[in-house]
Each structure stands twice: as structure tokens, then as C-alpha cells.
């Protein structure tokens, strides 16, 4: 249940940005670790890459790209808001951010499978 004072697009955009940022930050070390396997244990990396072909993992990857896209557009929205003279188009920007995110990650998914 979202508390009543939070039920509006800008707050939801903020929370989405925060959650995606947090998820990305938690995923990042894992990503770095996997890649650095190439240095320390190439066999394991290969194994991992095979594992990564699994549709479930693919789906998780889609989620990740989705997060990145969401956070990216959310970030652009904030940067625009903060550094470009502000306009009332706030809410449409927020919506556009989410739409854009879906688009990019969607194409990615479509092409990947």
C-alpha cells in the first residue's frame, strides 16, 4: 500500500529511480566479478556464459537492462530538471522516461531471443 501522500507520478518516478539505482548498485559487483573471471578462471567464465544462455537468466538480464534503462531515463529527467530551466512538462517527462525504458529494453529482448 502506497501511503496517500505518495500517490502521484513524481513520487513514483522518484521511487522507481531509487529502486533501480539500488538494484543496479547491488548487481554491479556481481557483474564485475563475473567479468574478472576472464582474468583468474577462464573456464568458469565459459561455464557462466553457457549458463547465461538459459532463458531464465536471459529474462533476468532483460530485467537488468530494463532497470538500467529506467534509471538512465530517470537520471536524464532529473538532470534536465535540475540543470535546464524548469518547465511544467515534468510529468510528461516522467512518463516519457518509463516509456523510453520499455522501448529500449523491449527491442533488446526481442532481438536477443
Amino acid at each position: 500500500m502506497i501511503r496517500p501522500h505518495r500517490r502521484h507520478p513524481l513520487w513514483l518516478a522518484y521511487m522507481l529511480h531509487r529502486l533501480s539505482g539500488l538494484a543496479l548498485a547491488l548487481f554491479l559487483p556481481a557483474h564485475f566479478w563475473v567479468l574478472s573471471l576472464a582474468l583468474t578462471d577462464p573456464d568458469q567464465l565459459d561455464q557462466f556464459l553457457i549458463f547465461a544462455d538459459n532463458p531464465l537468466v536471459k529474462f533476468a538480464e532483460f530485467g537488468l537492462v530494463f532497470l538500467l534503462a529506467v534509471h538512465f531515463f530517470g537520471g536524464l529527467r532529473l538532470l534536465a530538471l535540475e540543470f535546464l530551466p524548469w518547465s511544467q512538462r515534468q510529468k510528461s517527462l516522467a512518463a516519457g522516461a518509463i516509456a523510453g525504458a520499455l522501448l529500449i529494453s523491449g527491442t533488446f529482448l526481442l532481438r536477443a531471443v
Binding site: G21, L22, A25, P29, V34, L35, S36, T40, F72, F108
Partner: protein, 110 residues
């Protein structure tokens, strides 16, 4: 508890990451679409100074960016501040930089 310097660092690193993330996504989409195997990808990136600089910059930016981001969340959710919060920020940043550096080295240099 976000002063002007941390704030600017977070916004600047975000601005820096913008093109880098787009670039990375483009590469990935291109690679997967072209059906490149991971070995093929690695083959192209290894020993490439431009790729080293590209991903190196990303790692530096993201370490700063994420460390500050997590700091803010930690402070607002738990109320932590002062030395411990500073220590946390630095730890995350250094941790990410080290791990990221290893990954970049693995992918681009050897």
C-alpha cells in the same frame, strides 16, 4: 547530508555515464544481434586501448556515482551519519573501483 561537492560529483559522473551506457548498450545489442560469442567479443576488446579507456572511465564514474547514491539511501533509511557514513561511502567507492578495475583489466588488457 549531501553537500555541494558530493552532489556535483554524483551529477557529473551521471552525465559522464550517459554516453558510456548508451555505447555499452549499443555494443551489446550489436553483438547479440550479430550472434557474436563471448570469445569473439573478448577477442575484439582485448589489447584495445580505446576499449580500456572506455570501460575504465565507466568504472571510475560508476564507483563515484553508486557510492554516493548508496550513501544517500543509507542515510535516509537508517539515519546513519558522521564518520561511519563517510567510511561507508569510501568503502563502496574503493570496493567498486577495485572490482571494476579487475574486470576492465580482464576484458581489455590481457
Amino acid at each position: 547530508m549531501l553537500g555541494i561537492r558530493l552532489y556535483m560529483a554524483q551529477r557529473l559522473s551521471a552525465m559522464m555515464m550517459g554516453p558510456l551506457v548508451l555505447g555499452h548498450l549499443a555494443v551489446m545489442i550489436y553483438a547479440i544481434q550479430g550472434g557474436l560469442s563471448s570469445a569473439e567479443i573478448l577477442g575484439r576488446t582485448k589489447g584495445s586501448i580505446p576499449w580500456f579507456l572506455f570501460y575504465g572511465a565507466f568504472v571510475l564514474a560508476v564507483s563515484v556515482h553508486a557510492a554516493i547514491g548508496l550513501r544517500v539511501i543509507l542515510h535516509e533509511v537508517t539515519g546513519l551519519k558522521g564518520r561511519l557514513l563517510e567510511a561507508f561511502t569510501w568503502a563502496v567507492m574503493l570496493g567498486l573501483t577495485v572490482m571494476g578495475a579487475r574486470a576492465v583489466l580482464a576484458v581489455t588488457l590481457l
